[in-house]
């Protein structure tokens, strides 16, 4: 099946991007997960991965081209006819029935590697030859399997690799100035100096024209909960709750797309992001899951959100589950992404090292445990977290929250039984390679709960599998 790849949205403020380099040439086959091209947006250089197996038929946006979101970048051939491609900017064209990994599980889609064709002068001649697969010499086939499996080699000096690893830079994102584009340590330092975004810069895009805080109170103390609101009103709004130590930017790959059809609210949990007050560094602070659920419940009422689709990740997942159980009438559907509370195990070493990491090296090493692909631990992720850690009060508050969440080395709060009572659509979404909360907590859930396991995915499926997760959330919200 032939289709057109369009420029995906890769960041909250991104409206257009510049094609830096294609990693695949016309005629070349690629596997799901292969990097197709490098794109420069206003903030960073990102690699655009393939979301299903396919083959490039024609590159429509050449290197150097500036293109807007949704504009075509390439014509490709994909094997499955029903699964959508994540680079489709229009979510409405997506199939609601295909499981996310359909292409992988379909035995007919097992790909034979076709030798990349030399680029031909006119695109019309490049259409695939239906008999091509049969013509391949088996030995040749093997040869190409081997070479196509290799990652694109980055030329970088040992010094560059060391500095990049220590600072969480991805070498692919750096322009090398050495011979044949070799990246030097100096290149990495220069890029680091330019690219580490200040947290304000990231935060700015979340500030809405209207006041973006709602004052809530716990016992006698009043505090603000900051939020980002986006999208047209009308349908039941969608609310995002982030995980421990994160903030509302955690949803940067989800909000814009989902906000096309409905109002999307992403919140900073108390003690996180801008929902922060110095008093939270005091001894009394350290809300548990249920306490946070009450805070959010209060916020939703004050913000006039009577009924919402609620999506939570990790700690936010526990909070969402607790809130849905105590206020079932106010939750239309529930999405739990790698949630807290479905089992006892948790990577307490990660929680503690993340909560106490002061320097960049320790932080980066902790963050690597969140993702299956280390490339997600880039300057854009590390910079703001590092900046926040300069404030000892914030670190202290984080440690206090982590002390509340852990009972010795296990999860304190258990919400598994609550799932039984829920009478709304619920999806549990997990990465099979989650190193923080094991994905086998998703076993043995009530039959009405849908389970989605992503392979080659860590604790952050909403980032690592953003397109797939976005589609699942669309499905959850489809009922109202």
């Amino acid at each position: 099946m032939e289709k057109t790849l369009t420029l995906p949205r890769l960041g909250e403020t991104m409206e257009e991007g510049t094609v830096l380099a294609w990693s695949k040439i016309t005629g070349e086959e690629y596997d799901r997960g292969d990097i197709l091209l490098e794109l420069e947006t206003d903030k960073m250089v990102v690699e655009v991965p393939a979301l299903e197996d396919g083959r490039i038929l024609e590159i429509l946006a050449e290197e150097g081209a500036v293109i807007g979101i949704g504009e075509p970048i390439a014509r490709v051939e994909v094997e499955s006819t029903d699964s959508s491609n994540a680079t489709d900017s229009d979510p409405t064209t997506e199939s609601k029935t295909t499981p996310p990994n359909a292409a992988d599980s379909d035995p007919t889609s097992e790909s034979k590697v076709i030798p990349p064709k030399k680029e031909k002068p006119t695109s019309t001649e490049q259409d695939e030859d239906p008999d091509l697969e049969e013509e391949i010499d088996p030995d040749l086939d093997q040869l190409f399997l081997k070479t196509s499996a290799g990652q694109k080699q980055v030329r970088a000096t040992p010094a560059a690799r060391r500095i990049a690893a220590r600072s969480g830079m991805e070498l692919h994102q750096i322009q090398g100035t050495g011979p044949l584009g070799r990246i030097s340590g100096e290149d990495v330092r220069k890029t680091l100096a330019q690219e580490v975004p200040k947290p304000e810069a990231v935060k700015k895009e979340t500030i809405h024209a209207e006041p973006n805080v709602v004052e809530t109170s716990r016992e006698s103390e009043a505090f603000n909960i900051s939020y980002l609101r986006k999208g047209p009103s009308g349908k039941t709004p969608l609310v995002f709750l982030h995980g421990f130590g994160a903030d509302l930017n955690s949803w940067r790959f989800n909000v814009s797309l989902l906000a096309k059809s409905r109002e999307v609210w992403s919140l900073d949990l108390p003690g996180h992001g801008d929902s922060w007050e110095d008093s939270m560094a005091g001894e009394g602070f350290g809300p548990g899951v249920e306490e946070l659920a009450e805070d959010i419940s209060q916020f939703l009422m004050l913000a006039g959100l009577d009924r919402v689709h609620l999506m939570g990740h990790s700690l936010g997942g526990g909070v969402a589950l607790s809130l849905a159980a105590s206020h079932p009438e106010r939750v239309a559907s529930l999405g739990l992404i790698s949630p807290l509370g479905l089992g006892a195990e948790i990577n307490h070493e990660f929680i503690r090292s993340f909560a106490s990491a002061r320097d960049r090296e320790k932080l980066v090493s902790a963050l690597h445990r969140l993702f299956y692909h280390g490339s997600w631990v880039n300057a854009a992720l590390v910079g703001p977290l590092e900046e926040l850690r300069k404030d000892p009060k914030r670190l202290k508050a984080l440690r206090q929250v982590s002390d509340t969440l852990l009972l010795e080395n296990r999860q304190r709060w258990q919400g598994r039984k609550l799932l039984e009572k829920l009478n709304i659509p619920v999806k549990v979404i997990w990465g099979r390679d989650d190193l923080v909360i094991p994905s086998d907590h998703a076993q043995g859930l009530p039959g009405a709960v849908a389970l989605h396991l992503f392979r080659e995915t860590g604790h952050m499926p909403h980032i690592e599998q953003a397109m797939g997760v976005n589609r699942l959330i669309e499905e959850l919200c489809a009922f109202e």
Partner: protein, 324 residues
């Protein structure tokens, strides 16, 4: 303090040591009446007499063999070979005896001797009188190896050699005997410690003996072009102070080894391998070696000069390393 020469500094070290340690003797061809092939021991026969300053027959095996025996039986001999090239004749005494005795006798006895000789190019000595054979010594466990480049180091390294309880090969350079400099009597670095002769940030030159002076000249000229070169003088090749080298390379990210001995399986090979092992994560470029050609040293002064690194080539290789 008055200037002195490399030759005089060596003589001073020998004389002072012999005055304070009666077990020190000197033996070799022409070391007595003639005063040494390069004049280092001139005048010492008169002060110390022919029991301690002994002219020997023309037999390197005898010179070194007698020194090994004397060392094992309580003396501290300084054996002099006119040219390091002739060490081939004494290799068994040096490699199989001097270097092995302590091990073979379970540590009960050592060979506290110094083998003084000189090597290198610069006097049209031709293929049999111009070699740099330090790699052979460095390759032999059990031998200390000192290669002084300056007047002060010639003095201190030789005095230090005469206090060690194991054999020291002390290699002078025939081109340095007339080198003038200020002898700093108090500047005695620990044995086995390299010295940073010039500080710089763009790359590290690692060298020893006469090549240090060429490296320093190159670094001076390069500094006028805005290139900042660090120069490390190893002083001894065994022990080898890799700590100073890798600290420097970790800072500059670029290393170049300059030696006069020939390239293949030479000292530069060992040094560059060590740098890659110890400072790999800090390197911006592969370690570069600039060494003598893999040829017998020619007698023609022009060809002889061209067979070993010169200032111009050091400069152009630094620029290549820095891609300028």
């Amino acid at each position: 303090m008055a200037e002195t020469t490399y030759r005089e500094a060596l003589r001073l070290a020998l004389t002072e040591s012999m005055r304070s340690d009666p077990s020190i003797i000197i033996l070799g061809e022409e070391v007595g009446k003639y005063g040494g092939a390069y004049g280092v021991t001139k005048g010492m026969l008169e002060e110390f007499g022919d029991a301690r300053i002994r002219d020997t027959p023309i037999s390197e095996e005898v010179i070194v063999g007698a020194a090994v025996g004397a060392a094992m039986t309580g003396l501290r001999p300084v054996a002099e070979l006119m040219y390091i090239d002739f060490v081939t004749l004494a290799m068994d005494q040096l490699v199989n005896q001097a270097a092995k005795i302590r091990y073979m006798f379970g540590g009960q006895i050592g060979v506290p001797m110094v083998l003084r000789s000189q090597g290198g190019t610069g006097r049209s000595g031709a293929a049999q009188h111009s070699q740099s054979l330090e790699a052979w010594m460095m390759h032999t466990p059990g031998l200390h190896l000192a290669m002084p480049s300056t007047v002060t180091d010639a003095y201190h390294l030789l005095k230090h050699s005469l206090t060690l309880n194991d054999p020291v090969v002390f290699l002078e350079h025939k081109g340095l005997y007339t080198l003038k400099g200020t002898l700093e009597p108090d500047k005695a670095l620990p044995w086995g410690k390299a010295e940073v002769r010039r500080q710089g940030g763009d790359c590290t030159l690692v060298s020893y003996s006469r090549m240090i002076h060429l490296c320093m000249d190159a670094a001076e000229t390069l500094s006028k072009e805005g290139i900042s070169v660090e120069v490390i003088d190893l002083r001894t090749l065994h022990p080898l102070d890799m700590q100073t080298v890798s600290e420097s390379v970790s800072r500059t990210g670029r290393a170049m080894v300059v030696t006069e001995d020939c390239l293949t399986a030479g000292v530069s090979a060992e040094l560059s391998a060590r740098i890659m092992e110890e400072a790999f994560d800090f390197l911006e470029e592969p370690v570069v070696r600039l060494s003598g050609e893999d040829i017998p040293i020619p007698v023609s002064p022009q060809l002889e000069q061209g067979s070993v690194p010169g200032v111009e080539r050091i400069m152009s290789t630094v620029k290549m390393l820095l891609r300028r």
